[in-house]
Symmetry: C2
Subunit: 460 residues, 2 copies
C-alpha cells in the first residue's frame, strides 16, 4: 500500500523530497537484503542526514502507526533488514561520516552509515586498529554491524563488534534521543543499555552515532595455510592450538568444495584436492609472531597436515585472507540460490559438527560447502541450491532443521554472528528457554510498546 | 520489624533452620557492606545452598511483598548490598563451588559465592588466567563481581568482569530460573540479556551460576615503579605510553599520601618523599615484555621520572602489586572514616582531574589520598575523615559533589567500577540524561514490576 499523501508530504518536509522514495520501481532495491528468498516491498524509503531527521521520522511513524525498518547497505544474512509490509524504511547510508578519531583515548566516533572498512582505514592513519571485520566489510555499515553484533575473521583473538562499542546515540521508539555508554574505558553507572542495544537488530531503537574503541595496530603478522586430507585433523589442529595456549587472530576453515570454488574464483593457489584448508594468522609483537607461527606449524604437522605454507610477505598474506573473504561469493556462483548458515558450537564440538554437516548433505542429497571461523566454533555451512525447485528446497529445510537441532544438542547457538532476523526465528525459543525468551519480549514491550521498530524480527 | 512466624517457618522449610538468621545480634554483620556510614538492619538473613532454594525464597518473598537484598561477602563500596528496611537478605556465600574448568573451551563454571581469587587459582592449575582482580579479590565473591561489573588493576589490557561473563543462570523476580548466554564464543541469538544483568546490582534478578571465559596465562611479566616529583608528569607518562601504542596490563597511580600510608603499612620500600608513584606492569610473550618494559622506562624518564625501578623477580613484582592492593586498608588506618571515591575520566583528562582533586582537598581543608587505575582513567580519591564530625562531613560532601561535577564536565563517569548503589544515586540522572535514565527504569519496571529486588539501589 502506498503511503498517504499527508505522510509523504511530512517526510518530504523532514528530509527533503529528493531523499524520499515512493515509486514502485525505486523501492525494489530496498525490498531485500543479503538473505536468499526474502522480499517484501516497503511503502516508502527515506534517507535521513541527521539524528534530528531520524527522530522526526520516528515521531511521524509513531503518530501514524507505521512500522519502521532501519537499514544500511543491506548485507545482512538473516533477513534483519528485509522490510515488513507497508513499512517505512529508514536507510542511513547518507549518515556516513567518520566524525572523530581520538588517538589519546583510542576512540573513534562515526555515523551509522560509515562503511566498516573505512573505520579501520581511519584508525590506521593513527597507527590504530578496529579489528571487527565481517565478511562484507567493504560494503557493510557500522550501524548494521552494531545492530547485528557482527563478527568476522578475527573474533578468536579480538572479539566481535560488541567488544568495541563504548557508546551509542539512539533514537527511541517515541522519538526521544538517548546517549548510552561513555568515552570512559570503565563505566558502571546504571544498566549497560548500550549492550542491550548492540545486537538488538533494530527492534529497540535506531542507532544514529557510535563511539568505538580502537587498539594499537599489531606490529607484525604472519599468514599460513595448512592442508589436510581429513576434516577431523583440521578441527583437531584448532583444538590443539588453543590447548597449547595460543590465541591466533585467525583460524579459518574451508572444506574441499569451498576451497575449490574460491580457487576457481580468485586464483590464489589454493589446493583443490584436499579435504580441508586452515587459514591461520598470528599478529602482534614480531618475536611473538615468529614464535607462535612456528608452534602452530609444528601442531598442524603433528595433526597430519599434508603441507603447511607460510605467506612470503604481507601482500601474499592479505591475498590469502581476501580469497577466504570471497568464499560466499565464490560458492554463490555454482547454483542459483545460496543459503548461508551460521551455526556455532563450543570449540570442543567442532569435529563432531563438521562431520554431521557432511553426513547431512549426503543423507539429503544436497550440496553443502562449509567454511567458517573454526577458532570460534562458528561454521557457515552453505547450501548451494535453487529456490525454484520445490523438492530440493524441501530437503534444504529438513537438512537445515537437522543441523540446527544438532547444534543445540551440542550446546551451540543457532546464530554466531548473522543474527536471528526472520531466518532463525523458528528455533530461538528452543535455544533460549521459555524464561529467557519471555524476558526478551518483556524488554521489547517496555521499550517499544507499539511494536513499530523492525516488527517481526527476532520474535513475532 | 521481625518477620512473621509463618515466613520464618517457610524459610526454615526451604533452607533449614540452621541457615536462617532472625535474632537482632545475628543480623548486625549483615547490616552493612564495605561502604562507610550506611547501615540498615534486615528482617532476616538466609543462606541458600541451591538455585532451587533461591527460587523458593524469591517466590516466598514475592508472595508476601518482602524486599530481597542479595549479598556475598559484603565488600561493595557503593552500598549496593546494604539491606533495605525489613528486607530479606539472601547471602550466597554457601553457594561457593567452582563447578567445572574446561581447558578445551577456555571456560570456568562457578556458583556465585565462589571467592574471586579461587577462580583464578582454579584457572591457573590449567595454565589459564581469569584476569579481573578487584582490590577485594581475596574475599569478594564472583556473584558480587558480576552484579557490580567489578574492575581491578588489569583493566587497561584485560578489561573488566563483563568481558569474561559468557553465561549466567539467574532467578527472576517471579522465581523463574533463566539461563542467559552460552558457552559459544560468538552468540547473537536474541538480546544480550546477560549483559543487561552484568552490573545491574541485584535489581533485576539473582545470579545463581556464572560461566566465565578464561585466557592463556601470560608467559612472562615485568613490574616497575616510576617515581615523580609532579603528579602531572605521572599522568603525562600514562598518556604517552598509550600514545606509543603500548597497552600494559597495569598502570597504577599512588599520590604522596597514599604511597606514604602504604609504606607505613606494608614496608615494601616505596618512597615516601615523591609526589607520585606509578606501578607499571607488562605481561605476555617474554620478548614483548622485555621490549615493552624498556620502552616504558624510556617514556617515564622522558617525562621526568626521578627514578624507575624494575622488580628483580616475580616475587618482588607480586609484593609491589600486593602493596598497591592494600592502599585502601593503609589509608583507612589514618582516620576513623574512609570514603573511597571512584570517578573515572577519559584518559586524556587525567592530569586535569588529579590536579582538581588536589586543589579541592586544599580548598575544603580535607585530607584526600588519591590512587587508582590511571591507565583506565579510573581514580579513587579517598577521603580520610570522621563521620562523627558534622562540620567536616559537610565539607566532605561539598568536596565530593564538586569532584563528581567536574568529572561529568570532563566527559567522565560517576563510577568506574564500584557501582551506583546508594552512594552515587544523586548524580546518576545527570550523567545518563533523562531519556537513558527513563529507559533504565522502564527495563526495571518490566523485569521487576513489584520492585522487590534490591529496592532503592541505582535509582529510587
Amino acid at each position: 500500500m502506498p503511503p498517504s499523501d499527508s505522510i509523504v508530504a511530512s517526510l518530504n518536509s523532514i528530509v527533503g523530497a529528493d531523499a524520499v522514495l515512493t515509486r514502485a520501481e525505486d523501492l525494489i532495491p530496498y525490498s531485500f537484503d543479503g538473505t536468499a528468498a526474502l522480499k517484501v516491498r516497503p511503502s516508502a524509503v527515506v534517507f535521513p542526514r541527521t539524528t534530528a531527521q531520524v527522530a522526526d521520522c520516528v515521531r511521524l511513524a509513531a503518530a501514524s502507526g507505521t512500522p519502521i525498518v532501519t537499514r544500511g547497505s543491506g548485507t545482512g544474512l538473516s533477513g534483519g533488514s528485509v522490510p515488513s509490509h507497508d513499512c517505512l524504511v529508514l536507510c542511513l547510508t547518507q549518515m556516513d561520516a567518520i566524525l572523530d578519531v581520538d588517538p589519546r583515548n583510542l576512540t573513534l566516533r562515526a555515523q551509522p552509515g560509515a562503511i566498516t572498512m573505512r573505520i579501520d582505514e581511519a584508525a590506521a592513519t593513527h597507527g590504530l586498529f578496529y579489528p571487527p571485520d565481517p565478511g562484507s566489510q567493504r560494503i557493510s555499515t557500522i550501524g548494521g554491524n552494531v545492530a547485528e553484533n557482527s563478527g568476522g575473521l578475527r573474533g578468536l583473538k579480538y572479539g566481535v563488534t560488541r567488544d568495541y562499542v563504548m557508546g551509542l546515540e539512539v533514537v527511541l521508539a517515541d522519538g526521544r534521543i538517548a546517549r548510552l555508554g561513555s568515552a570512559c574505558v570503565k563505566d558502571v553507572a546504571g544498566y549497560s543499555l548500550k549492550d542491550l542495544f548492540v545486537g538488538s537488530e533494530g527492534t529497540l531503537g535506531i542507532i544514529t552515532e557510535v563511539l568505538l574503541k580502537l587498539v594499537p595496530r599489531p606490529a607484525a603478522r604472519r599468514t599460513m595455510l595448512a592442508l589436510y586430507d581429513s576434516i577431523e585433523d583440521a578441527a583437531d589442529t584448532v583444538s590443539a592450538i588453543v590447548a597449547a595456549r595460543i590465541i591466533p587472530c585467525t583460524l579459518e576453515f574451508l572444506d574441499r568444495m569451498t576451497a575449490g570454488c574460491v580457487e576457481d574464483y580468485a586464483h590464489v593457489g589454493l589446493p583443490t584436492d584436499c579435504e580441508a584448508v586452515l587459514l591461520m594468522e598470528t599478529d602482534g609483537h614480531p618475536a611473538a609472531v615468529v614464535d607462535e607461527a612456528a608452534r602452530m606449524e609444528v601442531i598442524a604437522r603433528a595433526h597430519r597436515a599434508r603441507d603447511v605454507r607460510t605467506a612470503r610477505d604481507e601482500a601474499e598474506g592479505l591475498q590469502l585472507a581476501a580469497a577466504r573473504r570471497n568464499a560466499f561469493a565464490a560458492l554463490a556462483r555454482r547454483r542459483p540460490t545460496t543459503i548461508l548458515e551460521d551455526v556455532t558450537v563450543p570449540r570442543s564440538e567442532l569435529a563432531t559438527m563438521v562431520r554431521f554437516i557432511a553426513d547431512t548433505a549426503a543423507a539429503f542429497n544436497l550440496q553443502i560447502g562449509t567454511f567458517g571461523h573454526m577458532g570460534d566454533g562458528n561454521l557457515h555451512p552453505t547450501f548451494l541450491t535453487d529456490e525454484r525447485n520445490a523438492d530440493e528446497m524441501g530437503r534444504v529445510h529438513q537438512a537445515l532443521d537437522a543441523i540446527v537441532h544438532r547444534t543445540l544438542e551440542l550446546g551451540g547457538t543457532i546464530t554466531g554472528e548473522h543474527g536471528v532476523g526472520l531466518a532463525k526465528k523458528p528455533w530461538l525459543r528452543q535455544q533460549m528457554g521459555d524464561a529467557s525468551f519471555d524476558l526478551m519480549r518483556q524488554v521489547k514491550g517496555a521499550l517499544d510498546p507499539m511494536g513499530l521498530l523492525n516488527p517481526g524480527k527476532i520474535f513475532d
